[in-house]
Symmetry: C2
């Protein structure tokens, strides 16, 4: 232990190595997602070379290393095990540059999303990925979880933004694949290995991200609909007529909308509670003079086709924020729910109505009086469920997991759409993946991390 | 040999196994890209199970297997070695279905691109990827080379279209990852291993592709520009103002345009030959009534900013085809060039002017009187070069390779943007990739194909 500490102290500066009481809650607080042990040390490198030095030492010593970004993950992917070494990328937080003609940003892994968004904005571009944890989540964390968020239907997941990256392998080998081009077919695309693998195959230290042109207009509406078929037709209408400009298509099932009306007094849901589905759609356009009319005309078309029964269009940025708050700001309501289990699943869009009905029926069958709230990124095939049942025991949680993931398995869906597997969903990985798939994952893990030292116990 | 033949005959039907003189030129014609030997057999399975059966037999016999699609590759990736077993996917050519709400197509690997495009079109959607070889290239080939083409700036490479796939590993293991959702973070994204790895890690047998909404309008223009900086500004203008609708941004250097005027009498280049760059831009829109005006207004803006010196806008589909023919239909001219070496490279867009100048100067310095024609998908960071020098000897070819790829190495570019590595570029892979990258590629190859039987000698 002392040898290890001495060796690590030779790699990072004094403030780069924390032990004992100096290890703050930042490094162990998983916000309820997975148990965390007490790390032996926290190492805070300032360069890829230092990360390499740390991993070499740990590789030779056979010590497990847990990489950490902003600790906003929702599946326990950053939770340290007892006595493990935490490697925090928080000090690698420089945006290295913007290439205007290539529309790229080069940055270190510890850059906070909001900072990257601001730098991109100042340069006249937009970071494609956005999500609620923007104030803490880091680029490295977004890459290692292949984060999604609210604009996936338009810009894809984080994977689609990553042109290049630098990662350090378990033995300290630095793998620099800082490609800046949209096209590069020179051999295997190695960066894909590190995107979405939650730090179990290598630690991402730097990246090249593709930026998007900044939208010049934003139009947002909330509509109420009575039939699931109408939701699908409305999605298809916007998808076709907005020329790729559909930026969000978020659906709230009626029970969620009712819940917001009853439990979130600070929110202002403007529509009556008598619809089956409530849909927030956002059009990101490039014609500030004509886009609002275009958007309202489409809503009128949808209304004349009897797809939507009621609706409001945001007339100001403040209106827009109020509409999004119905979808994203229900935290105060959730705090009245205890226990509360949350889910992030994906499935073919056509099966979502079935999913909603079965989830409500099966959970209320097993737990009379249960609360089952469903909402999410319908346009991406991704729903979230918030479920409050029973006594909050591990048994109850497992029973709800088995019900929910059982339906997902039947529908050919995935137990994780955008949050990852971490420790929380590890037991259910094979409900969405075949034995052959899991075995190939294990083969990759053994190949790249033969001693099993990188983020052990996560994913597989 | 007889044992192997007997075993294979037990897996496929009579027309699924070709030997001797029954092996047609289809299986050995690489159209000048890489030498081809005479295959021992050609096996033509009709299902994933048959592919698995074939690979199991070859694995136990230690026989090399070369997967083949439409044989339109440009780097020798499908060329059989002497005595190897060719596995042609040509009989696995069924489109299995379209999911309207998920906007996906499920298909077998041997489906020809044009067929897939037509099925998508009939269903009201568009296949995102398009390229000249659409009449022969297959989905499996497009996936295994991560094909690009003319619409990458809008829709990405083939990788971006693949939601799921099924592949068979070297030992016959069937890996079914037929994900249909935009989001699926359940463990490592294994499909990425098989996209762009040219059949060296597994053989793709089926796929799920994401389709695009069909554009409702197409506007095309050819403009002439005098300065490279203007090309960049024009790209930025369209990128910003077309709201994601920029479908193509193709640039031809002046020597290429002059070449077309002189050597391609069937083409009709409408602009005078006194510009430095000729740019074809295409706007794929969703507003048939307003898009033409919007596009012409943008061209006027570019003209008033002195970015473009001359230009024509297609007024009909026939006009549009004539403009694209200048970019794509120079085959008759190329046939007057002998020898002819062709290149597919990528680099940061900002460095392209430098690339063009250095390529012309260095090649003409080494080979006085050389022809150096440059054109390509500038918006994607991807250029092609057509070079005619010397006597066409292997020495001359190597010298041109060394010059071109040397410049690319200096500029931080890639020796392959969209064609792959195959056999043709294998010796230059490490001009674009670090030793660490190549070693990780080898690790993956050893892990997934421990006997080195899948498409041996390709890529690495």
């Amino acid at each position: 232990m002392t040898d290890l500490l001495t060796a690590l102290a030779g790699v990072v500066d004094k403030s780069g190595l924390l032990t004992g009481d100096d290890i703050g809650r930042r490094y162990t607080d998983t916000r309820g997602h997975g148990p965390a042990g007490t790390p032996a040390f926290v190492v805070r490198p300032t360069s890829t070379q230092e990360v390499s030095g740390i991993l070499k030492i740990c590789f030779h010593a056979g010590r497990a290393v847990v990489p950490q970004g902003g600790m906003t993950g929702l599946v326990g992917g950053g939770a340290p095990g007892e006595g493990e070494v935490v490697l925090s990328l928080e000090r690698m937080n420089a945006v290295e540059g913007i290439d205007d003609s290539g529309r790229t940003m080069t940055a270190e892994a510890g850059v906070v999303l909001e900072t990257a968004q601001s730098v991109a904005d100042d340069a006249g571009f937009m970071m494609p990925v956005d999500l609620g944890a923007r104030g803490s989540a880091t680029l490295g964390g977004l890459i290692s979880t292949n984060a999604g968020g609210n604009r996936v239907i338009r810009y894809g997941m984080m994977r689609q933004s990553v042109l290049g990256l630098e990662a350090v392998l378990a033995d300290g080998t630095i793998l620099t694949s800082m490609n800046r081009m949209l096209k590069n077919n020179a051999g295997y695309d190695l960066k894909q290995l590190f995107i979405g693998s939650e730090g179990t195959l290598g630690i991402v230290t730097r990246c090249v991200l593709r930026l998007a042109p900044k939208p010049l207009s934003t139009c947002t509406a909330l509509v109420g609909m009575d039939k699931f078929e109408s939701v699908l037709s409305y999605l298809s209408l916007l998808d076709t007529k907005l020329g790729g400009g559909l930026g969000a298509f978020e659906v709230m099932w009626s029970k969620y909308y009712d819940f917001v009306r009853e439990r979130c007094p600070n929110l202002k849901p403007p529509l009556t509670p008598d619809h089956q589905f409530y849909v927030i759609t956002e059009f990101l356009g490039a014609d500030p003079d004509g886009d609002a009319d275009k958007f309202e005309n489409l809503l009128e078309t949808a209304s004349s086709q009897n797809l939507i029964q009621d609706g409001v269009v945001a007339q100001s940025e403040s209106d827009r924020e109020d509409l999004w708050a119905i979808r994203e700001g229900a935290g105060e309501g959730f705090r009245t729910l205890s226990p509360m289990f949350t889910y992030d699943v994906s499935m073919p869009i056509l099966t979502m109505d079935d999913f909603g009905r079965r989830a409500e029926a099966d959970i209320e069958g097993a737990f009379p009086g249960a609360t089952t709230l469903i909402l999410g990124h319908l346009g991406d095939g991704n729903l979230h469920a918030v479920i409050s049942v029973g006594d909050g025991s591990a048994d109850a949680h497992k029973k709800v997991n088995d019900i929910l993931y059982g339906i997902i398995r039947d529908l050919g869906g995935s137990v994780s759409a955008e949050h990852g597997i971490g420790t929380e969903k590890r037991d259910y990985l094979n409900w969405s993946r075949t034995d052959a798939e899991v075995e190939v994952m294990r083969m990759l893990k053994r190949t790249l991390d033969p001693k099993g030292l990188l983020n052990p116990g996560k994913v597989i």
